[in-house]
């Protein structure tokens, strides 16, 4: 084997394996973990955590608070499965550090309702079969709840014909606003029916 054929690559990553003469990737030192404390409320209960600063809000919920209802689908903001409400707004919990959420009020799927006391949106998802495998479902439901609030608040969307004035609960609006939540099982048609049902009852 020719020495020049050996090209280093670090881990999953770095450098260039299959081209001769290209740059070598030297792994950077990763350092000692830094711990920091953070306090926030989740579903009404206060939590104080000592965490590695690298911990995302998603992993703080799933691995530290063991609230596994919030799902990790991609960990890169590309699927929406990790959607939670922070101070009433929906966000991707995979793309925020836990320590950045000091003092926040977090609502997860577990905080919306329970098996014996479903939130109206959860009940509508069951009734309209707005899910199949269930993995994107908590994110869809958190998003759905927030979307109806966003429409009420008059926040426009990409498909709003008029940027000003009141926003409508139309199918087109719901589909656009829910597009950050991917469902590979393809329950979209039913999810919009569930949301329309809830929006109608809210009047």
């Amino acid at each position: 084997m020719n020495r020049r054929d050996l090209i280093a690559a670090a881990g999953a990553c770095a450098a260039l394996p299959s081209m001769v003469g290209a740059a070598r990737g030297q792994p950077v030192p990763i350092g000692e973990p830094v711990r920091a404390s953070v306090s926030f409320r989740v579903n009404g209960a206060g939590h104080h955590l000592e965490l590695d600063t690298r911990t995302t809000l998603l992993d703080a919920l799933r691995e530290h608070l063991k609230l596994t209802g919030t799902k990790k689908g991609c960990d890169h903001g590309q699927c929406g499965a990790c959607t939670v409400l922070v101070d009433g707004q929906r966000i991707n919990s995979c793309l925020t550090l836990a320590v950045m959420n000091q003092g926040s009020e977090v609502t997860t799927i577990e905080g919306l309702g329970s098996v014996d006391n479903l939130h109206p949106m959860q009940a509508a998802f069951v009734k309209h079969d707005g899910f199949q495998c269930g993995y994107c479902t908590p994110g869809q439901i958190c998003s759905a709840v927030a979307v109806l609030d966003e429409i009420k608040a008059g926040i426009p969307s990409h498909v709003s014909a008029d940027l000003e004035g009141a926003m409508a609960v139309s199918e087109a609006e719901l589909r656009e606003r829910m597009s950050g939540n991917i469902c590979r099982c393809g329950a979209y048609s039913n999810i919009v029916e569930a949301m329309t049902d809830v929006a109608g009852r809210q009047g």
Binding site: P33, Q78, V126, G134, I141, Y188
Partner: protein, 735 residues
Amino acid sequence: MKFDKPATDNPIDRLQVVGQPRDRIDGARKVTGTARYAYEHHDVAANQAYGYVVGAGIAKGRIASIKLDAARKAPGVLAIVTAKEAGKLNKGKRNTARLLAGPEIEHYHQAVALVVAESFEQARAAASLVEIAYAPTKGTFDLKKVKDSGKKPEGDDPSLDDTNVGDFPGAFESAQVKLDQSYTTPDESHAMMEPHATLAAWEGERLTLWTSNQMVAWGVADMAATLGISKDNIRIMSPFIGGGFGGKLFLRSDVLLAALGARAAKRPVKVALQRPLMINNTTHRPATIQRIRIGATREGKITAIGHESWSGDLPGGGPEVAVQQTRLLYAGANRMTAMRLVELDLPEGNAMRAPGEAPGLMALEIAMDEMAEKLSLDPIAFRMLNDTQVDPEKPERPFSMRQLGECFRVGAERFGWSRRQARPGTMRDGHGLIGFGVAAAFRNNIVMKSGARVSLDSQGIVTVETDMTDIGTGSYTIIGQTAAEMLGVDLYKVVVRLGDSAFPVSAGSGGQWGGNSATAGVYAACVKLREAVAQKLGINSGEAVFEGGDVKAGNRSLPLASAAASGPLTAEDTIEYGDLDETHQQSTFGAHFVEVSVDTATAETRIRRMLAVCAAGRILNPKTARSQVIGAMTMGAGAALMEELAVDKRRGFFVNHDLAGYEVPVHADIPHQDVIFLDETDPMSSPMKAKGVGELGICGVGAAIANAIYNATGVRVRDYPITLDKLIRHMPDAA
């Protein structure tokens, strides 16, 4: 129970519970986030550590050296697994490439190491310190370029053979109207929302795996083979699976690495494949190049039909069986099919939702549309002219049930097909060119041996246990409905426990065989339990009627629960099949109708309406079955319009290997979807008289969209996905 004669009347026919659109019995758990998936079992094993997978940075070659020192010394690291550390590993019979590579690298992102640490953050950081030197070798990555080197697939599976009936070359040559076209479908990814994930825990020699696997018994067998240990020492649990679509049929690297990591770290270890690694690390639907030839009389009777398909896979892999449906879908005395397989060094190709038929119909059903146009026939009329009630290769062999024509008739009426303009490019709405498209749906019904255990307790609670899985299909619910119907109890009285290898081996979830086969297994076990109950209550089992929570015979009526007063009653059985699927061709049928709008300026295609009409035997639960169909239609829309794994033909990998790069449909892509199930019971399929439906919905829908785009624009695209760059230069002037 042996099912070898057509089903006669049985308790399922009462349809008190079965056939009803019941809500999912696991629904409340899924919508509250309390259904536990593989990575979420915090409570089952103490002291869980985290694994992070390192994937190969080259497509083919060898690892020259791995430096682990820096990673080993990194904070929190407990163990590192590589092929060298792992020692001898075998390969399960259902895997083509090894799940842990080294020193040979067979494909990009093949796992080469697992770093185990106290925390996820530590494992991920340390993984970046694993330093690997590769000696790459030249690989083959371009299907089109090496197509002609394709060989007949090896092995004794007759479905891979070339077929020839009559004189295809002669009949095609002399046909009055002919079509000879090529079509391509790209590599596609399952992209299920839950990444492959496993928690592994050893207790001495015994290994317990909480994982996400569609086929529990296959997983146990392949894991035992890979590790060289006894199957008895492995327990797999997959109670909830966040989507599979074929991508979780087989043992994948998360399972093996979690087990090896747990052994090395002497602690339970959990591993989830990182999303950017998944697409190249796991399996995908292979790309195809297909050639279709159809010859017909001027009146539109097919006299010759030929379908050839080329696909690639790693050495030892198999072809995409894209010609399968063409053997059965349309009449024609002279016919041929053939598949050719080339060796490619891309990641492993394997089953994805409706393997074979999904890409096969994407080609065949465009060809039928093109042929109809050549014949100046309506595309539905052309298909109906060539409908058949018998296997066209063996006319003595009838279909058990075939309502393709009725699917088209009902669908055409509901959809308003008569409003379609035959001349392309003539319908317009605002800035959109409007087109209607249609295609046949076809998928074979496969029956699989399937077992279950059913027990009754003194409270009248019925518990069903089987290793069957629910991948979103609704297995929990239809199994519960089956047991409730058989024992005459309300659905809420039934507890269903799935996905545990400690339970009787079932059909598992794949090939749309799961629903019919697994409920048939439950039916068999329930028949046995009914006999045990009758005997216990001193009732003649032939007379016993189970209803309303009671068992009745003549004037007598006793509470069902009383049979278990002195202790639970348990029965176990397995449904096995005779040759009804040999004597009769069992298939499912449908018709897809699609309306699209193609933007006059940008050539962006958006779907406005979708309708599927399905004939698929008894529909066990119209609500969950409908969800299966709309979900499959959605995946088919992705295949038609956007899904394509982009191959880097120099470096040999799928470049767009995450959910931003590999686009699947989002809410805004999918309109309201209509589904109609024709009333059908098929006594040849099982005592349930049901057939599969989970894959039928994806079969043909892509071609219906392609045909609608043609109808809208007059531009015929034969290479999927039909993205705007393939239309833009041929679009009429926007003004």
